[in-house]
Symmetry: D2
Subunit: 347 residues, 4 copies
């Protein structure tokens, strides 16, 4: 392969970000984009970028033998069938998180990928953030010794629209899934048990959909470490994304990125600007790097930085958290299948 | 009262700190000190300070009608009988934490204090720390709106001696009890439920005594807020004492105190000195202030800053954490009596 | 103008950076590049980017009527003749700093630009840095009141090669010229007098060329404010670029950018990574923005963010500093012409 | 000597601070205090502390053979005669800065001390600050290699009362004298030349007394290092006391102390409290330590931490700055005597 030809499926905000990042890479061509709501606006957007084909039906992309890889950026419920279809068509796949909200379906999708022998990368963009990479590097290098405590704070500046909350899969599957992946990534160990607490403190609309807007989840890792993640759907001071790993030889902690380093000292106090507003600002470079590494893997046979199994493990943790929150007790990852069946029989 | 006459019971490290702080106050006289191991060394120490009486038997202090108030700084198992005795003798009481490791006994001690009409202050010194007071002030003033998430980190630089671990009452009653009080203090709300995770990651000696050296406890507050406390018996970089309260209008966070603000920039990186080493350095001023406020309350009828009930609530949380850790499930404060009885019957 | 056609003169490091930044902009075409040492390597570089013409002789660019604007990135001694030539050819000009090391020649170049009615932007890239822009914004907005003291620190990680030192024009004209512009930019006032101290503390080679490697220059501004700039050719901990403006209502200070926010706490201390290494890392986004604003000015008639006069004023300050250093006394900007003539007569 | 008996001369703010710090030390007795304005208030103050004698006339203290040492805290114009008198009386001396505003008088006072063989410590309290001591330690230990640049910022929260400005001796002798001493202290080298710039930007009253309220002074050290000090009489955000030493192997920088570490994050930005308000708050512990070291020197024969010569050198630098400001040119320390004579003849 000298050039990778890409089809983008789903041209929402994240699909467009990936397209723009890919368009800047040599050896990459974005040849087609599909979107259920494709129209003149998307066509103009594509024309400006020299993307030749704009379609509503993703089957057109799947059927195009020139296309080497697809970026699945459509809604979560479409991920599994699209992964299966792409795998059967022999196309490599970059898929946004989560693969699905149903562990068994995710497992089926991963099996299809395995059988087809294609590559599948999951869109856990935060692994490529300069801060979190540095945490991982120090833990891997042994700087802090054996990890004992992992702390992750992840708060959004604003809650999503109620229409989105309804279909989001809930805070654990939609928002904390990033933090579940982060926990595995920085600790270098699997999680065996989770206990989830949640409450509706920001907007009653979350309760209407059986969801919470504030949550704390504790983790037990296989290597003995303990962990805690806190999530809020609304931090009025902006996107709050911090990680700390504490161990036998010390700790490594990263805090937020700010738009500048300015400190204003006046009679009222010392002030600095709020953190970078949201994920588009904070993870701009991380989005570039994740697509670059996907392309590098296709071009040069390098290992993928995030694999299908990473998506699966994070989903298992999210499901365990959901069950824990519902049952009011800690839930082991090993018991989620059984619990789910029991609960489905009951309801 | 123009002058308060004080008797110190228990002249270990903390008893001596209180004595020295009291000796610097006008309108205070330290007239006697008792210690089971009183001898020439303690007599010299007392003589240097003009403390007239040194005895082994605390009954001498209790029987002295000139003494207005006692500082109970002896071992935890002596607190309850000494509180009762002091109350009956009409003496005001400053008692180190915890009052006891048995909720019922603590309740009895508090009842004796109530009946006698004396004052009882508990030694939760951290409430007087400049950082944590500022957190409390901002939460009380509404700066951060309604509290949603409370996060407390509390790590010691070194584990205690195994002899102490054995009688300490365990990490929840001995160490985290400070953080349980801190949670109530900064959040301004009672805790209804706790879930405790712990592990032995530092030294197997903790396991020998049925204790853990690393723990994460999550909290549910009456006002809906969620909380988390993490404890470690060994942070190699020094005493780590941080608090964050996040709410509807923002957050307030305090970090460690350092011996200086120096930043050294060399070819290797940017370095600063570790935090203040341990509680004697970090809480030096807090110890002065807690005794000052106790004396002010006696002299001027001001309300006590920490009351017997504060000691009781923290002990209830510690017991709930201990039970949670043993049962592997969340425990409500309201069920600790029943659970304890059940567990005692079983064993 | 719908598209701006650009010719790059001088394809060293900075010429290539500008080319790459321009190539990413819509409505911009880089049509030609000239370099005295053009050869197969540069041709390959250009081919990869779709730049059609690669020549040794800049006259080819000047003679091309399709070219709207030139980027002068060749050695400083060529700037003035190239500016004059481009102006006469009716081409807009982006010129790297300094315009020249001879005030009269710079004045002649500016006059040629004025007569021709073309636009000339000087490459003071630091004005576009997120931190320094924030300082300027706060000073302009009155946040800190009337400026009283301006402090600028600017230290390179490594000294340049001796060959470069020889032709650099000295620390004031080559390195501190950026800081002279910064002083005017953040203070919003002209400088009337400078006093320069310098010493050779890093490498004796600087003395061989009549140069210094360490310098402190103080400034008197027209608005009454005082200023100080310190320069070092070698900060072993990396590129050190800080600015502080102190005024009647407070101060605004910016410090360095770091590659991440990680803090490592170990038994040895608290460590963080060194600042971003050098100007390519620190000013990456600033380089993009300065070319974007130049293009915007051409396309939409917006005012230029840095004009020829800004180049001239900074050169006057640099010359005054050079004279001050030589004479061992403060030098007014208004006396530099006379002093220079006197000194030239003497030598 | 088993106990040091002290007489305090001058019971203003600083005299009282020293008295209170001395009263807390074992082996120290404050036996008398003199003040021109002694009256019932001072007598009450002394009585409360058990200081037996309160007089108006300092001769009473000088004549008391029981007194081992005096603290000279009266107005600057009285320092030299009091030092001479105390020296002749064989008493050790702690004298507030500056010794005098006249170099020759200071030299005479030092000679009297030398002849009498008594000890004289100057009140440069900032040397005992935890931050500045750490800077000095690192420079002495070679952490930053050879010093190249010394930067000192020193700004007061509020200007003094006009009555004080009138007799203060001017910003260089009254305020910057601390920074002149700091420069020598942290750099470990003498200063050979100074250049002073000043302006009246805060209050025209300074101009009435021939003084300035804002000043920048540059320094040349014997070891080749360059230095800069900036002073302002009014930093609205509070007491600003920072030092940085940059050298061949890196830099050490200290910033201000704050009353707490709290960071408040709201929709408006990230805020922290202003620095400790003024010298009483910032240098509280430093005042204790300077008196402790004076007493230790008397009791145990340890070397004094600040000697008469330190006072003299700082006064020479202050005088050079004053002359530089007046003459508009750099002034060498070696030429101040001659310059002063010349200027006195002229006026």
């Amino acid at each position: 392969m000298n050039t990778i030809k890409i089809g983008i499926i789903g041209a929402g905000r994240i699909g467009k970000i990936h397209a723009d990042n890919l368009l800047r890479m040599k050896q990459v061509e974005v040849v087609a984009v599909s979107d259920l709501f494709a129209g003149p606006e998307l066509e103009a957007w594509a024309a400006e970028r020299g993307i030749e084909q704009v379609v509503k039906d993703s089957n057109v992309i799947m059927a195009n033998p020139d296309i080497d890889a697809v970026f699945i950026c459509s809604s979560t419920d479409t991920h599994v069938p699209l992964i299966k279809q792409a795998a059967q068509a022999g196309k490599h796949i970059f898929c946004e998180k989560p693969v699905s909200m149903d562990i068994k379906q995710t497992e089926e999708a991963l099996e299809a990928v395995r059988v087809a022998g294609v590559k599948l990368q999951i869109g856990f963009n935060r692994r490529f953030d300069h801060n979190f990479k540095r945490v991982r590097e120090h833990v891997q290098a042994g700087t802090i010794g054996q990890p004992h405590i992992v702390k992750i704070t992840s708060r959004d500046p604003n809650p999503p629209h109620p229409d989105y909350i309804k279909v989001s899969g809930g805070i654990f599957m939609d928002m904390m899934i990033h933090d579940f992946d982060m926990a595995r990534y920085v600790c270098g160990s699997e999680v065996e048990e989770v206990y989830a607490q949640g409450n509706v403190l920001i907007n009653p609309v979350f309760a209407e959909y059986g969801d919470v807007d504030t949550a704390i989840v504790t983790l037990k890792f296989s290597n003995g470490a303990l962990g805690v993640i806190d999530n809020s759907r609304q931090a009025v001071y902006g996107y709050d994304q911090r990680v700390e790993v504490f161990g036998s030889k010390g700790s490594v902690a990263v805090t937020n990125d700010h738009p500048n380093t300015a400190e204003i000292s006046t009679a009222e106090g010392i002030v600095r600007d709020k953190p970078l507003h949201f994920f588009l600002e904070r993870y701009q470079a991380a989005y570039v790097e994740e697509t670059q590494m996907f392309i590098d893997s296709l071009l040069h046979g390098k290992p993928l930085p995030v694999e299908g199994n990473d998506g699966l493990q994070a989903e298992r943790m999210a499901l365990a958290a959901k069950l824990s929150s519902r049952l009011g007790r800690p839930v082991k990852i090993s018991e989620i299948h059984e619990l789910e069946e029991t609960l489905q029989c009951q309801s």
